[in-house]
C-alpha cells in the first residue's frame, strides 16, 4: 500500500456500478409529459374512479398550484420541471391481472431478475432461493412468508397471497382496487395523516397518484405474514407517484416492507410518494424500507429525486408505529418518516441508515409529535457519507402542552469515509410541557486507517474490512429489519460502498 492510503483508498469508495440499471422492453401506455387539470382527470378516468376521488384529486391539484418548493433543506433544490414529466405509464394490455398467469412474462421476468419472485410458492422478497436461511446466530431457519404487491411504473401488476390473507379479514391490495372495493375505508382515511396541502410534493402526489398499496388489518388480528410492496420505475421521463395507506384497527399488528429500484437513465426521475399509517388502540405497525433507487453516476448525471412524505398517527392509546429505513439509492433523498403520538402511552420509533456517496444528497430524519400523555419516542439515525456525498439528519421532537411525561431519546451517528464528504445534523426541539424528558446524543467518526489495518492484520482485505466496519456501525438499525430483509440490506450496504476504498 502507498503512504497516503487513507484518503486515496477511501476516496474510491463510490465506484461500484448500480446493479438494477437494466430496462424492461415492454409495450407501454404512456401519457405525454405535462401537468394540468386534464392530466388529473385522465388518471382518475383511466382508473375508473368515483366522483369523490376525482374531486379530492382536483382539490389537491388546486393546492399544488398555489404552493412553492421548500427552501429549508440542506441542498440547493434542483429545477423541478413538473411539465416535463409523464404522469402515467402502464404496461399495455390489461393492467389488472386476475391471476399471475395473465401477467406479461417479461414483467414477471423483471421482478424475478430483481429477486422479487411473484410466484407464491417462492416465499421471499429479496432473495431468490426457497430453502432455509442462516440467521445471525448461524442457525438455519425457515424463511418467513412474505406477501408482495408489485408496482411497475404507475400500476400494481400483482399482489400475492391475497386469498390467504382474506381468511383473516385482512385487506391487502393495490390502492386502485381499494378505491373500487372499499371506498368507505379509503374515504375515511386518505389524507387524514398527510393532508393534500401538507407540502408541494404531497399535493402533487394527491393529485396524480397512480397506484400504491392498501392494507387494512381488522380488530384483534395479527397479520400472519410480512406484507410488502416492491416499486419499480421503468419508463423514461416518468415520475412515480404511489400512495400507500395502512390501517391497523384496535389490537392489530402488521409488519410491512417496501423496496424499490429503477433503471439507469441519464435524466433525473421524480419519485414523490406518500405513505400514511393509522394505528388504533393497542395496534402496532412496523414499516421497513430498503430504498435503492438509481443514484445517478459518479458525476451526478441522472438518478432519482426521492421526495417522499411518510407519516403515521398513533391514534389510539398504547399504539406503536415503528419506521425503519435503509436509504442507499437516489440522487436526492428528502424524506422524514414521522409519527404523531396522539393516543396516551403511544410509542413512535425511527431507525435509519442513510448512505450518501458519489454526488448523492440525503436529507432525512423524522418528526415525533407528542400530543398525548406518557408518549414516548426513540430516534436512531446512522448517516454514512463517502465520495462527495452529503448526509444531513434533520429531526423535530415536539412536545405539546398536554403531553405530560413525554420522553424522547435521539441518537445521531455519522460516519465519514474519505475527506470530501459531509455529515450534518439539524435537531430541532419544541417542548411546551415542562414534564418532558429529552435526551440527545450525537457522534461523528471517520473510518480510521487504524481500524482497517487491524482487520487487515487478521487476514481481512480492505474492502471486506470497510464492509464490516460499516455494517457494524449500522447494526442497531439493521437489527430492526425483518431477518431476511436485514441480510439483503447488509449486502446492499456492502455493494453500495464497494470500490469506495481501494
Amino acid at each position: 500500500m502507498e503512504n497516503n492510503t487513507d484518503t486515496e483508498f477511501l476516496e474510491s469508495l463510490a465506484d461500484k456500478e448500480y446493479e438494477h440499471g437494466f430496462i424492461t422492453d415492454i409495450e407501454m401506455d404512456i401519457l405525454p409529459p405535462g401537468l394540468n387539470e386534464e392530466t388529473v382527470r385522465f388518471i382518475s378516468a383511466k382508473k375508473n374512479e368515483p366522483e369523490w376521488m376525482l374531486e379530492w384529486r382536483l382539490k389537491a391539484y388546486q393546492a399544488f398550484l398555489k404552493m412553492e418548493l421548500p427552501s429549508w433543506q440542506n441542498f440547493k433544490m434542483p429545477d423541478m420541471n413538473f411539465d416535463g414529466i409523464s404522469y402515467y405509464a402502464a404496461p399495455k394490455n390489461t393492467p389488472k391481472y386476475n391471476s399471475l398467469d395473465e401477467v406479461d412474462p417479461e414483467l414477471l421476468a423483471t421482478f424475478e431478475k430483481l429477486g422479487i419472485p411473484l410466484n407464491e410458492r417462492k416465499k421471499l422478497l429479496g432473495v431468490r432461493e426457497d430453502g432455509p436461511i442462516e440467521n445471525e446466530n448461524g442457525e438455519m431457519v425457515e424463511r418467513p412468508l412474505v406477501a408482495v404487491d408489485a408496482v411497475f411504473d404507475s400500476v400494481s401488476v400483482a399482489t400475492t397471497y391475497k386469498d390467504e390473507l382474506k381468511k383473516h379479514g385482512i385487506i391487502f391490495c393495490s390502492i386502485s382496487e381499494a378505491i373500487q372495493d372499499h371506498p368507505e375505508l379509503v374515504k375515511a382515511y386518505i389524507g387524514s395523516v398527510v393532508p393534500q396541502t401538507d407540502n408541494i410534493f404531497a399535493a402533487l402526489n394527491s393529485a396524480v397518484f397512480s397506484d400504491g398499496s392498501f392494507v387494512y388489518i381488522p380488530k384483534g388480528v395479527r397479520c400472519p405474514m410480512e406484507l410488502s410492496t416492491y416499486f419499480r420505475i421503468n419508463a423514461e421521463n416518468t415520475g412515480q407517484f404511489e400512495r400507500t395507506l395502512i390501517i391497523a384497527d384496535d389490537d392489530a399488528y402488521v409488519s410491512y416492507l417496501e423496496g424499490c429500484t429503477a433503471p439507469q437513465r441519464d435524466e433525473h426521475q421524480l419519485h414523490a410518494a406518500i405513505v400514511e399509517i393509522v394505528a388504533h388502540k393497542n395496534a402496532e405497525v412496523k414499516y421497513s424500507t430498503v430504498q435503492n433507487w438509481y443514484p445517478g453516476d459518479k458525476e451526478g448525471k441522472g438518478g432519482v429525486y426521492n421526495f417522499v412524505t411518510k407519516r403515521g398517527i398513533c391514534k389510539g392509546e398504547n399504539s406503536i408505529i415503528s419506521w425503519t429505513q435503509v436509504e442507499t439509492g437516489s440522487a436526492i433523498t428528502w424524506k422524514y418518516p414521522s409519527v404523531i403520538l396522539q393516543g396516551d402511552n403511544s410509542y413512535g420509533e425511527f431507525y435509519s441508515v442513510a448512505v450518501a456517496k458519489g454526488k448523492q444528497i440525503a436529507d432525512t430524519g423524522t418528526k415525533m409529535i407528542h400530543l398525548g400523555k406518557n408518549t414516548r419516542s426513540r430516534i436512531i439515525s446512522k448517516g454514512i457519507s463517502a465520495g462527495n456525498g452529503q448526509n444531513s439528519y434533520r429531526g423535530l421532537v415536539s412536545i405539546g402542552p398536554k403531553a405530560a411525561n413525554a420522553r424522547n431519546f435521539t441518537q445521531c451517528d455519522s460516519m465519514l469515509i474519505g475527506d470530501r464528504c459531509g455529515a450534518h445534523t439539524f435537531p430541532y426541539i419544541d417542548a411546551k410541557n415542562p414534564t418532558a424528558t429529552l435526551e440527545h446524543e450525537a457522534t461523528t467518526s471517520k473510518i480510521g486507517e487504524d481500524q482497517i489495518f487491524y482487520l487487515n492484520a487478521r487476514g481481512i482485505d480492505t474492502e471486506k474490512a470497510v464492509e464490516m466496519i460499516v455494517n457494524g456501525f449500522a447494526k442497531e438499525v439493521l437489527n430492526k429489519l425483518p431477518m431476511e430483509f436485514a441480510v439483503e440490506a447488509q449486502k446492499l450496504l456492502a455493494v453500495s460502498l464497494e470500490g469506495s476504498v481501494g
Binding site: N3, G138, Y454, A457, G459, D461, A474
Partner: protein, 245 residues
C-alpha cells in the same frame, strides 16, 4: 523461519530502523527490549505492513518468501500475527463473527474450505478454555468497552484461533495487572510449539519471568546492539540501557 537483513525503514522521511538484522527459527522465542523510541514498535509495524512505514533498504523473508512485497492481509494469511499494543475497538462487529471471517479468509488463501459453523464453534470453545478467555467477551462487539487487560487477552485468544507461524507481541504486558499477566503468559506458553515462533517486544523483564525467551535482543537507535540469553534481561533490569550506548 524469519530472516531480517539490514532493514531500514522510515516514517515521514525520518529513519527509524537503521540496518536491523534478526534471525528467528521455528520453535524459538525472542525478546526485544530497549529504551523508549528505539524502534521496537516500529519493527512490529513494519513486519505487519502498516502503511505509513516505508522500507528503504533491506529484506524480510518468512520461510524464504519476501513478505515486504505482500499486503498486510496477505502477510497475515502467510502466518504473521501482530498482537497489538493498542487493540482497536470496532463497534457493532461481533468478536466471534470477526474471527470467523478472519479465519475463513486465511483458510481460503491457503486453499482450504471454510470451517462449518459447528467446527468453528467447537474450536472457539477449545481455544477459549486453553487461553482462559471469558466466554462473555466472545459475543460482544470487537474490543468495544473492553478493559485494557481484556483487550490484550482478546489478542491472545485471536492468536490461539488463527494459529500463526510467527507471532509478534507488541508490549502485550503493558497495562496488565499481575493476574492478567499470568493468564496471558500461560496462554502463550501453551501455544508455543516446534512449528511456531514468537517475538516479544517489551520494556520490562517481568514478562520474561513468565514467558522464558531463548534470546534477548537490545534494540537501540534502530539497530540491535546486543544479543544474549535470558540472563541479559536481568542484567538490563539492574543496569538500565545506558551502558550499552
Amino acid at each position: 523461519m524469519l530472516s531480517i537483513k539490514n532493514l531500514h525503514a522510515s516514517v515521514e522521511d525520518k529513519e527509524i530502523l537503521k540496518g536491523l538484522n534478526l534471525e528467528v527459527k521455528a520453535g524459538e522465542v525472542h525478546a526485544i527490549m530497549g529504551p523508549n523510541g528505539a524502534g521496537k514498535s516500529s519493527l512490529a509495524s513494519v513486519l505487519a505492513g502498516r502503511a505509513n512505514y516505508e522500507v528503504t533498504e533491506g529484506s524480510v523473508t518468512l520461510d524464504g518468501k519476501d513478505i515486504l512485497e505482500l499486503s498486510p492481509e496477505d502477510r497475515a494469511r502467510e502466518g504473521v500475527f501482530l498482537a497489538f499494543q493498542y487493540p482497536i475497538e470496532i463497534p457493532g462487529v461481533s468478536n466471534i463473527n470477526f474471527l470467523k471471517t478472519a479465519m475463513n479468509e486465511i483458510r481460503d488463501y491457503r486453499g482450504l474450505s471454510p470451517l462449518t459453523a459447528k467446527e468453528f464453534l467447537q474450536m472457539s470453545r477449545e481455544k477459549q478454555a486453553l487461553v482462559e478467555f471469558d466466554a462473555k467477551l466472545v459475543n460482544r462487539s470487537l474490543n468495544e468497552g473492553f478493559s485494557g487487560g481484556e483487550k490484550k487477552r482478546n489478542e491472545i485468544f485471536q492468536l490461539a484461533m488463527l494459529d500463526p507461524k510467527l507471532s509478534i507481541l507488541d508490549e502485550t504486558d503493558s497495562g496488565l495487572d499481575i493476574d492478567a499477566l499470568r493468564i496471558v503468559s500461560r496462554g502463550v506458553n501453551k501455544l508455543r510449539s516446534e512449528n511456531n515462533a514468537f517475538i516479544l517486544i517489551t520494556h520490562y523483564q517481568r514478562l520474561l519471568d513468565h514467558i522464558v525467551p531463548d534470546f534477548v535482543h537490545v534494540l537501540s537507535d534502530g539497530k540491535i546492539v546486543k544479543t544474549g540469553g535470558k540472563e541479559l534481561a536481568l542484567e538490563l533490569e539492574e543496569k538500565g540501557y545506558d551502558w550499552l550506548k
